[in-house]
């Protein structure tokens, strides 16, 4: 594909790309260990100067112990997370059509790729506002509403139809998100809203705060969400030890992570994905960034609930890839 001029004097190469990750995960929860090899490829292909086709899918094989102590059984899942077309209408509006990630909170759109998230498990409140499958089938408008050196604001608003298709599952729903970002403080504050439009119509609201201090490689993320049957929050911090002889030193490749979260059950529900009783959980993680885009993730978590406290040990070996879809000249 030839070079396309996006702005005066600058030429970008718009060759389609393949990206994603390959990982091998282990998860020991309450004494039972699961093994999950996974691959999650991403395709992004620009067409012309305004259109981008992009998709991400995940294939995972899960090996878990059989209940009767007779060795391991396994099952697999292959499905898309999103398959969408993005059309840049102008500097403030991009129209998105297809199967897209539900814009609620921060985890679903930003941290679900396993080569990005520092911890393997999603937060306990992930099910609030993400409308079941975490994806919607329909249309969305999004973009930058305001952008100045001191302040920027972006938005997303979507309408999704219901789909019972096994691979492209979605709920009839609508919602949106508004994020304010203060570059000088590197502080982001956002709010999300989602309304389920199925037989039962319910609202979910959420808010998030992300802070990345300017002069140290510390990231603090937090989110609160309130659904029709439950609510909860999580706070996560990770600190890359790159101040110790640089990010490529033996110690500088280490990244300790800590997350605390609580959920509160207001009424019984089998569909929101949150624990059935009030739960507190703490995660201690230690990631190690090896050369050549390889990462080792390890974590220990303790979950407290009236149904019983459990230990959760997780490890992962992850490789991230990114290359053009075809060879160039």
């Amino acid at each position: 594909m030839s070079a396309v001029c996006i702005c005066p004097g600058v030429h970008a190469q718009n060759t389609p790309l393949f990206s994603g990750g390959v990982g091998f995960f282990t998860d020991t929860n309450g004494g039972n260990t699961k093994y999950s090899p996974s691959i999650s490829p991403v395709l992004a292909a620009p067409i012309g100067e305004h259109l981008l086709i992009e998709s991400r899918a995940t294939a995972v094989e899960v090996f878990s112990p059989k209940g009767d102590g007779q060795g391991y059984g396994h099952f697999h899942f292959v499905g898309p997370a999103f398959a969408q077309a993005d059309y840049v209408i102008n500097s403030h509006i991009t129209a998105v059509g297809g199967y897209f990630l539900t814009p609620f909170g921060t985890y679903n759109e930003r941290l679900t790729p396993f080569w990005i998230s520092p911890l393997a498990d999603a937060p306990l409140i992930y099910g609030i506002g993400t409308m079941g499958s975490g994806s919607g089938l329909g249309g969305m408008l999004r973009g930058s509403a305001i952008s100045t050196p001191r302040f920027s604001m972006n938005y997303a608003a979507y309408l999704s139809s219901g789909s019972t298709n096994f691979r492209f599952g979605s709920s009839r729903s609508t919602g949106g998100q508004l994020n304010a970002y203060f570059p000088n403080a590197q502080l982001e504050i956002g709010a999300s809203y989602g309304r389920l439009l199925e037989t039962t119509q319910t609202n979910s609201i959420g808010t998030h705060v992300w802070w990345t201090p300017v002069s140290i490689p510390l990231k603090i993320r937090s989110e609160y969400a309130h659904g029709p049957h439950s609510q909860g929050y999580w706070v996560e911090s990770d600190y890359r030890l790159s101040q110790f002889k640089g990010e490529n030193s033996l110690i500088g490749r280490l990244e300790p992570i800590f997350r605390i979260q609580q959920t509160f059950r207001n009424s019984p529900s089998s569909s929101d994905g949150l624990p059935s009783v009030d739960t507190q959980r703490v995660d201690f993680g230690m990631d190690y960034h090896l050369p050549h885009e390889v990462r080792i993730n390890t974590s220990y978590a303790r979950s407290f609930a009236s149904t019983g406290d459990v230990n959760i040990w997780e490890t992962a070996l992850i490789y991230r890839f990114l290359f053009p879809a075809w060879r160039g000249k």
Partner: protein
């Protein structure tokens, strides 16, 4: 027992925040390993590109060690949609990756 764990949790959170007390004035935030050299070359032309990169890309994910310049436009268009970049940010990022 639960209180004991909550104490440990907050101690860990405190340990994570402690480095704030020893902030240095230099910007030591993670940078794109593969684009570091490009960053230094480009800094004279695009003072904002590096900042846009750190604020909008590296805030969520670690930076790829390297990637082909042939896909830089595709990466940026993906980021424009995903991160809600403004048109100015997109241009600054494009100059940063294509010095």
């Amino acid at each position: 027992m639960k209180k004991y764990w909550i104490h440990i949790s907050f101690s860990a959170l405190l340990l994570c925040v402690l480095p704030l007390a020893s902030q240095t004035t230099g910007n030591s935030a993670p940078q794109a390993a593969g684009v570091k050299n490009q960053a230094s070359k480009a800094s004279a032309q695009t003072p904002d590109g590096n900042q846009v990169f750190l604020q909008n890309c590296a805030r969520c994910h670690t930076v790829p060690e390297t990637f082909s310049p042939r896909i830089s436009g595709t990466v940026i268009r993906h980021m424009r949609v995903r991160a809600g970049l403004s048109a100015q940010d997109e241009k600054a990022l494009l100059r940063f990756l294509n010095p």
